[in-house]
Amino acid sequence: MNSQLPNLNKHRTVKVQRTIDETSTVKTILFNDTLCSKAKPGQFVMVWIPGLDEIPMSVSHIGNKFVGISVKKVGEATEAIFKLKENSEFGLRGPYGNSFKILKGRILIVGGGVGMAPLKPLIVKLGRDKPTVLMGAATSDELLFFKQLKERLNENLIVTTEDGSKGLKGLVSDILPKLLEKKSFKCIYACGPELMLKRTLEIASKFKVQAQVSLERYIKCGLGLCGSCMINGLRVCKDGPIFSIDSLKSVKDFGFHRLDPSGRKIPIQK
């Protein structure tokens, strides 16, 4: 007796096929994996660096040849993944979680920093139905996938930087209301720091636009069993990571609290 999908939970060994330096702190790691090639935008994998850790990473590339993750080095495990070279091996299970539900109509994508990672395969999937993409980062260097998105989207790409080094100066949440005043959108898909997401949903609610966000929590089992990744009654690894604006309405901890590795409730850092 096994789980629903064959071998989804068993660690595969994958070999790095290519790496792409996206920014000075973010790298895309490309590899081959049959199960991940069927991943839907929004899903994540558990990446195992033997001897070190096993952490969740959004699938940032679902292509014909390769699949990929984009890692920002923020700690020991992400640094180890960042340092992977061609032919390095790591362990993998998944893909896990739900995915962005694509609605028909004009789409707006809102991404902050490395939050663009799970949004990129969504943008690619929308293909010729080019979405408008509002992307922000602290500085020009950190605008993830800027070049390929500019080529693909042209004037549909709007960028903001906090220091004004590229595009409009400010946060995406400064620009978003102006954008929604000018154009009507069927749905907003967003990923980034949680306070940015909270702001985004407040604005979406004000303009009565549908929205789906990708949330991040400390994930341990990735199987929906241990409860470490819960936000109130929702399991980010199993009920999410994608949540609609409606499902988050009564979730008091959204934008305020998360659980630390011991399960203690702590405030979300600004």
Binding site: N2, M46, D53, C221, L223, M230, P261, K265
Partner: protein
């Protein structure tokens, strides 16, 4: 309509199903989620005196017919647990059992005393923890240690005390007897089996803690055997646990001697719908076999041995 409600250790259960400790019991909200999924009672993640971060990942790995876990008892500690569960305990409509752990009898009783004023209905003692005085031995592997822990907790609280037994022993009936002699009100059988998976690609155990606990369908025959054996010699009620994924599994446990059952790894395969699924299957079975009450199923498999 077959009656599947039952009273166990003084707890009135609308149905005999609970989650196993460690499955979604980390926060009040997560326990509410299980209650909303239809469980007759819910069991918290093991609470200890001090906060623990748990082990680094990997902490779970799926194996054939089961799951290996070595979470490492992550929990926010009893003081944070007080805050965390207070709200839930005011609003939840099923009994909530607090699982508690410690490394000595004192540890267990400190935790029990601290949370005694909260609305937990009972305690389940997780004795599958290393004994602080005896290296390499779990409390649950030593009859005297079990006896001392139960005695200490029973003197600290007037609430029902269950002991969750470890199967990693040569004689589980001896352990059950020690718990009963010390005054335990009931037993949960069983906890996980010590086990390991080695990744042959990387040449190392997959779990960061190397050895973990095996749960799921693979251990069900062991768990059923334990319940059956304990039920032969011990009078206090047993809650069966180990590899239940369907109503048929639950019936095996009732027949072996369990008055209620816990579901853990089963949620991996069927998610939280499993509670409603089992309730449906169990009531249909009882109707078909003309059982009016759950009581009629309990210890049924002993019938042959006990004919005079």
């Amino acid at each position: 309509m077959a009656k599947i409600s039952i009273e166990v250790v003084g707890l009135k259960l609308k149905n005999p199903l609970m989650n196993a400790s460690g499955i979604l019991g980390l926060t009040g909200h997560s326990l509410k989620r299980i209650a909303d999924s239809g469980a007759g009672a819910v069991v918290s993640k093991s609470i200890g005196k001090d906060a623990r971060l748990g082990n680094p990942n990997p902490t779970v790995v799926e194996v054939n017919c089961g799951l290996l876990n070595s979470m490492g008892l992550p929990n926010p500690g009893v003081d944070a647990a007080l805050e965390e569960f207070e709200e839930l305990l005011k609003t939840v409509n099923v009994p909530v059992i607090a699982s508690i752990y410690g490394f000595s009898p004192e540890d267990f009783s400190v935790v029990a005393k601290k949370i005694d004023s909260l609305n937990f209905s009972a305690y389940e003692l997780n004795v599958s923890c290393p004994h602080v005085k005896e290296l390499g031995v779990e409390i649950g592997q030593n009859a005297d240690a079990i006896f001392n822990v139960v005695r200490k907790v029973k003197s600290a609280t007037s609430k029902p005390v269950l002991v969750k037994l470890s199967p990693n022993v040569s004689n589980i009936v001896e352990m059950a007897r020690a718990a009963e002699d010390a005054g335990a009100d009931g037993l949960t059988a069983i906890n996980t089996l010590r086990a390991m998976k080695i990744d042959i690609n990387f040449g190392r155990p997959t779990l960061s803690a190397k050895i973990g606990g095996l749960s799921g369908p693979a251990i069900k025959p062991v768990a059923v055997r334990c319940v059956y054996e304990i039920s032969k010699s011990i009078k206090i009620p047993i809650i069966g646990c180990g590899g239940i994924t369907s109503w048929k599994d639950a019936v095996e446990f009732f027949m072996a001697g369990a008055s209620a059952v816990q579901i853990g790894t089963g949620i991996l395969y069927s998610d939280l719908q499993i509670f409603e699924e089992i309730i449906k299957g169990l009531t249909a079975y009882m109707k078909k076999k003309k059982f009016k009450e759950l009581k009629e199923l309990i210890r049924l498999a002993h019938r042959e041995d006990e004919k005079v």
